[in-house]
Amino acid sequence: MSALTVGGKPLPEPVRRRRAAGLPPWMNAPPWWVRSLKTLAIVLIVLMSAYPLIYVIAMSFAAPEQARAGVVFPTEYSLDAYRTIFEGGTVTVGLRNSLWLTVVGTTLSLVFTSMLAWGLARTRQVPGAKAVLIMVLATMFFSAGIIPNFLLVKALGLLDSLWSLIIPGLISAFNMIVIRNFFMNLPQELIEAARIDGAGEWRIFLRIVLPLSKPVLAVMALFYAVGYWNTYFNALLYINDAEKWPIQVVLQQYVLAGVTIPGSLPVADQPPPPPGVTLQMAVIVLATVPILLVYPFLQRYFTKGVLTGAIKG
């Protein structure tokens, strides 16, 4: 361990740097080769995480000649792929279904999850609440399997309805626990005071509990919304009608199953359609964009949301 301050002499450079960064004095900068190894590792990790996405976005805008040639990064751009896709219609329908699913599903899920969380936040006072809590927790470890769920949805007459993608997964036990933990850590004096003033449980819930819980509700809204937007298998399982497919199923059909995108076949007397690769990339981008849009706004809540659930769960 090197000395910290030496008489009136100026502090050595590494010491000044860690002071500036608010790091403790015993924390030394590692030797140069460790630092370069770490930098290399970090650069590689960031590149590997981000480059595939950047590549797909860039290629979706690539000019036809470059897309056909297969370049590492396009330099000439065109919007033809998006024009073709929106004229085709199927992708638009998929996006509309997914949007509806995400908005309606997230709203309903948040309402019912936070209601149950508030009801179960007072297991000591409410007889039976503890039994319900255990019943809910058990579902995190034991689930029925694909076929019994399919048979239930079928018996309820939900097949081929977008509701089949919302109702069976309305409340996630994990999210409920996270919200419940947040509720239980709210300042109880406020709630008690309202109770003494004669406010009913619903009034307390709507006027005090929910407004105080915005951070956790924001993260849970994100988790639910991402879940609904990304719905794939359940749609495959429950929905046969292509008009009701969410975007992920449409994406799978066009990009992985090799179904031809409408408008991508050459027609006589018309300019040649954009190459299939750009069309596929454009569909991927359209399915990803909503997530890329909300991500930065909610990112700062992640730690809070995940942690209250996971560590204290």
Binding site: V136, F142, S143, L152, M184, Q188, Y232, I284
Partner: protein, 329 residues
């Protein structure tokens, strides 16, 4: 895991100490329920939801013991005892699916599970908080993409005609296609899992690192421990409880081995490499109409999962941890 014990003993002043409350004790169960009648308006909808959509389907597993057809229903189908299980266990496809499932599960456990720990340690050792935050933003993102998107993106990069195949073509090596290579498929699956979820997995370990008292590092530094030794002897032991908990939580679903991920890739890489228990259930049951055998396979998977959770929990308790069931309510 002391934080977990607080779950219920939160700051509710009125319930923390079991103080004598003679007036309250006189209330009968019915009176207490009447007093809390509004609480039930919050609980009942959610409880009904879990009853109908989590517990009723469990009863549906009786199909595994029936010669079920949707036309005849549960009541009209004949009971066949364990015939479905016998048929299942002598079906080479099930055995192949079981083998693939186990191999992928073990690979995930060995390679994908420790990855976030390593990444969290690496990021934690960075001196600059700004770089740390920037890297976090980038590596969290893939977690939010659906499997359809992830596979599609990988297809464009690693598939035949993709980015890497194009670059290799230019160098004179042709025919590269990592997405359809059955021999390396299981490693590809693990690589995809790491790409998607490793970054997100670090969040919980960062929290655990933040919870390690600074004076332990200080004491270690004073005793002459360098950065590497502090990580090895202070940080790493501090992560063990969280890692154990996560392991227990994940082990019940370990046989699920990325169902959508495999379902999406099976047409490309073939059944021999990509058939797992869940895809078997889907293809043979839902698509093939062999409800009995498929449900039996699903039930087998569920039972193995349950046994694994209970065993892991007991094992963790024996090691001195708290287990999961103790601290949850």
């Amino acid at each position: 895991m002391s934080a977990q014990a607080e779950t219920d003993a939160g700051p509710r002043a009125d319930e923390a100490p079991p103080k004598p409350a003679p007036a309250r004790r006189k209330l009968t169960l019915r009176q207490r329920m009447w007093r809390e009648r509004w609480a039930y308006t919050f609980i009942v909808p959610g409880a009904l939801f879990f009853l109908v959509f989590a517990y009723v389907p469990m009863l549906g597993n009786v199909v595994a013991f029936q010669d079920y057809t949707p036309f005849r229903g549960f009541g009209g189908s004949t009971w066949v005892g364990l015939a479905n299980f016998e048929a299942m266990l002598s079906d080479p496809e099930v055995l192949m699916a079981l083998r693939n499932t186990l191999i992928i599960a073990v690979l995930q456990l060995v390679l994908a599970f420790p990855a976030p720990i390593a990444l969290a340690l690496l990021l934690d050792s960075l001196m600059s908080a700004r770089v740390k935050r920037m890297v976090q933003t980038v590596v969290y993102l893939p977690h939010f993409l659906s499997w359809v998107i992830v596979i599609s993106v990988w297809q464009q990069v690693f598939g035949g005609g993709g980015l890497i195949a194009g670059v290799l073509d230019g160098l004179g090596v042709s025919g590269f296609d990592a997405m359809t290579n059955a021999d390396t498929f299981k490693l590809l699956v693990v690589a995809q899992t790491i790409w998607k979820d490793c970054g997100w997995g670090t969040i919980i370990f960062f929290a655990a690192i933040a919870g390690i008292p600074q004076d332990r590092y200080e004491a270690a530094a004073i005793d002459g421990a360098g950065a590497w030794q502090r990580m090895r002897h202070v940080t790493l032991p501090g992560l063990v409880p969280v890692a154990t908990l996560l392991l227990i939580l994940n082990i019940g679903s370990i046989l699920t081995v990325g169902f959508e991920q495999l379902l999406l890739q099976q047409p490309m890489v073939g059944m021999d490499a990509a058939e797992v228990l869940d895809t078997f259930v889907y293809f043979r049951g839902v698509l093939g109409g062999e409800w009995g055998i498929a449900t039996a396979a699903g039930l087998l998977k569920g039972v193995i999962g349950t046994v694994l959770v209970l065993a892991a929990n007991r094992f963790a308790k024996r090691l001195g941890g708290e287990g999961i069931f103790l601290c949850r309510h």
